[in-house]
Symmetry: C2
Subunit: 161 residues, 2 copies
DNA sequence: ACAGCTATTGCAAATAGTCGCAATAACAGA
DNA sequence: TCTGTTATTGCGACTATTTGCAATAGCTGT
């Protein structure tokens, strides 16, 4: 309650209101700091505290929180997930296209890119929440990669059993 | 038909088959090279050539093509869109969080990041298809930005009309 | 050209996510 | 504390995306 004073200020400053539903969402998200929660998981958890919050409200709230940078929207292999923005632990995500694992890495890696984009394109990159993809170390060795033009291929040769 | 020989090889090599539906998809996508098409647009266009392709097939095909890097999946402000991978014109996307515009920029900007991730984390980044977000030049000047902790806020002060 | 194997498809049913709207509840101002 | 304004919510309807399964059609080998 009193912990969310910062959020309350943030809401007020932008013309939004702090409702019981939003508080429930914040509670759920902070309780699972560091985890990647799906919309469904969030809905269920929120409902365990505030009986009948509608899914529409959850989605609308998640969208708002994302705009306000209260949460990060992460597009992993299993779909979209959310996590409260980790203060003091700014990290971004890279997803392995082979095994689907999501890895964290420091935002510092993006500083160079950020600088270049600002200089050349005047575009101010937000580096608190991005998801890039590629192939992790393990999958690079396990899998026999091949070339097709300039692109990597799937390793899988046969389907089914 | 004969143009898609490369894709046929790609399919075969990985145990996939070149069906009439996949050909229709390829046709549609190449016809709109450079554009960002929604699943709906693709479905409609595909149906104009191959009467009754089901939406399920379209989604499944799009997923396959994405895995094979035949198409890029782009998450813009209006939702998800697809485009056939542009050979010789490798570019990535940055979306403005304010106005929703999607901008293209050369993959070269990501080379530095790619090198670092390989060296430090042994993660092989795929830089043919990424979408980052931030604020474009126009919105930076138009909008009065404020600070909250370390994060940028929305500009909007009041809602409604 | 034919046969067998199995990847792929359409269909239908299930989920997930979105939207308009009238009722409600924050909140700024008195 | 009371009041007016309007952001927000729940609900129902709607659209989008996913999934299981039996029928179909690529493809490889003969
Ligand atoms: Mn994380
Ligand atoms: Mn583009
Ligand atoms: Zn992996
Ligand atoms: Zn903009």
């Amino acid at each position: 309650m009193v912990e969310f004073k910062d959020y309350l200020v943030l809401f007020r400053q932008n013309g939004y209101r702090l409702t019981s539903q939003r508080t429930a969402l914040l509670q759920t998200l902070t309780d699972h700091k560091g985890e990647h929660l799906s919309a469904r998981q969030i809905t269920e958890n929120v409902r365990s505290r505030d009986q009948n919050v509608d899914t529409a409200t959850v989605y609308r709230t998640l969208e708002l929180f994302t705009k306000l940078h209260i949460v990060n929207e992460i597009k992993g292999a299993t779909g979209i997930s959310y996590q409260i923005v980790p203060v003091g632990d700014k990290h971004n995500h890279i997803v392995c296209e082979e095994c689907g694992t999501t890895f964290d890495y420091s935002s510092q890696y993006l500083e160079g890119l950020r600088t270049m984009l600002v200089q050349d394109l005047r575009f101010e990159l937000h580096l608190e929440h991005s998801t890039l993809s590629g192939v992790c170390e393990q999958c690079q060795t396990n899998v026999s990669l091949e070339q097709y033009g300039n692109q990597r291929l799937l390793s899988r040769r046969t389907h089914g059993t």
